[in-house]
Symmetry: C2
Subunit: 320 residues, 2 copies
């Protein structure tokens, strides 16, 4: 594994470029810089305000809206914009990438992301592609809301394909492990199927219910907000997430999401019938089962009050 030396510290990459300096991009930048994993860190964003914020936060070495400048001499490029921007960016940079550059991304939908990237960046022009998805986040977006420990203890899924090499996979693994993530490897197809269930469907339902409750006629908006701690609030937290990112996810993982919506509606209608016909026992059985699933999540250490506490501390700072 090649490593670069800056002073006495071992570097993972010589020049890294992060495309898109939002919540994930800026949190990764913080890690790369604080942990001195790269010699030079460039961030690209077409949004001037984001670039300025990133500069004020001092989380990189180069801040640019010029793709050529960003890509020049980079030995790793991380796509961290909304996934629908991947194709155009890949096309725009394709003539400037250096031979042997490692291309990765943080996109939540892997088949679409890789299809878009690999149209323009692949073995033909010397690019080595390794798809990636760090499964982490808060409902906040923008560079100012990123923080170093965002990734801690979470899974990062890599989805290598015929454009990947063993060495590239190793180095991207090392990059995410340096951010304190656990790394897992699977196909893009399997990733998209699993994420549709554990992430995309739940998110869609949260958006939908917040819309429904907020639109109910005969209710005062103020009162809905006032008593939101009754449960509604938890859904607003989820539905406060980045609209662009999630629109892109639903549109690019369309078939699987549509299938799961149908499954969900079937189950909800069954529950509706249970209520209508006073079938308390059937409801009780379901609620007992979901309670058991909750226990499984806790036992698998996928709900870590300690980590949540840290995130709450970050949110607290941001709300002041």
């Amino acid at each position: 594994m090649r490593k670069f030396i800056k002073g006495e510290i071992t570097m993972l990459f010589n020049k890294a470029l992060i495309l898109g300096i939002g919540l994930i991009g800026s949190s990764l930048a913080r890690n790369l810089k604080e942990k001195k994993l790269v010699k030079t860190l460039a961030v690209y964003d077409k949004n001037q305000e984001n670039l300025k914020k990133a500069k004020d936060l001092d989380i990189a070495d180069i801040y640019t809206d010029n793709i050529k400048e960003g890509v020049s001499e980079a030995d790793v490029i991380i796509f961290a914009t909304p996934v629908c921007a991947f194709g155009k960016l890949a096309k725009d940079m394709s003539s400037y990438v250096k031979e042997g550059v490692i291309i990765t991304d943080v996109g939540s939908v892997k088949q679409y992301s890789l299809r878009e990237i690999e149209k323009y960046l692949n073995k033909n022009n010397g690019s080595i592609v390794v798809g990636g998805h760090p499964v982490a986040g808060t409902e906040k977006s923008g560079p100012e809301n990123g923080f170093t420990s965002l990734f801690k203890g979470r899974w990062c899924i890599l989805t290598p394909d015929e454009n990947s090499t063993e060495e590239a996979i190793k180095r991207i693994t090392e990059m995410w492990e340096s951010c304190n993530m656990k790394v897992d490897i699977m196909t893009a197809t399997h990733h998209d199927k699993v994420m549709a269930a554990v992430s995309h469907l739940p998110q869609l339902i949260a958006y939908s219910i917040v819309g429904t409750v907020a639109d109910l006629e005969g209710y005062e908006h103020k009162e809905i907000i006032k008593y939101s701690a009754g449960g509604f609030r938890d859904f607003t937290r989820i539905a406060g997430s980045d609209p662009t990112m999630w629109r892109d996810i639903f549109l690019t993982n369309k078939q699987t999401v549509l299938e799961l919506i149908q499954r969900f509606i079937e189950d909800l209608v069954a529950l509706e019938r249970n209520i209508r016909w006073d079938e308390g026992d059937k409801m009780f059985d379901l609620f007992k089962r979901t309670q058991k699933i909750r226990k499984d999540v806790i036992e698998a250490k996928q709900d870590q009050p300690e980590h949540e506490k840290r995130i709450m501390e970050e949110l607290q700072k941001q709300q002041v």
Copy 2:
């Protein structure tokens, strides 16, 4: 306002009886005892295990499964069992209550709760009833999971009716304010309508989606749990709540809940069409709106990272 003196401390009640020593009952008991609000605190539970746990936790003065013993000489009785047990308990105690006793409850559905209680306890036998609902909780149940600060900063809704007196309302208000709650007053009908929207529907949806995702054929349960931090996890937290309590809520606030399920399905189907027909703009507009609603919740201080942090600390202790 009558107050009782024990040593030099002013007491709110002489003898209080809490019926049902679960999450809410035990958290209230902790407050009444720690803040020395009552001279004698009795807790009743028909579940021997809960009684034993409460005794081990030393959160009351009298622990009993004998309703007559509990009720004897009590000047306030707080119903904190699942709501479907209210009617039988009210009937069983009706010959033992003392003249002028204040009856209140913590039930999540107020029309049903009060109807059940007031069948047996009302002006005819000298009982003064003031309905109440402290809007607070975690997904945990049982006496061992209660804690004093559970109520802090949350709303408690009182729903007085023709069985209430000004003085009783004042004293129940003072009891919850002593637990650091903010108290609001409305009719039972209005309460049930508002709670169906901000609490009952969201909870039902959480149960439903956890059931759907867990049951998907062609998925490994282990994998669903492993990646649950993608979003599913947040729903399991909600769907880990007490099955009996929630079954009772859905069955006793049936009509309003059924109406809201229909509204929710309509909106979800509209969103499904947006995905199918690539109507990204319509989705984006909805997600922008829900983001604004999230801001409203934060501005109304209904999502308090500080309070969440405290709850996480409690959960952390309990998970060790």
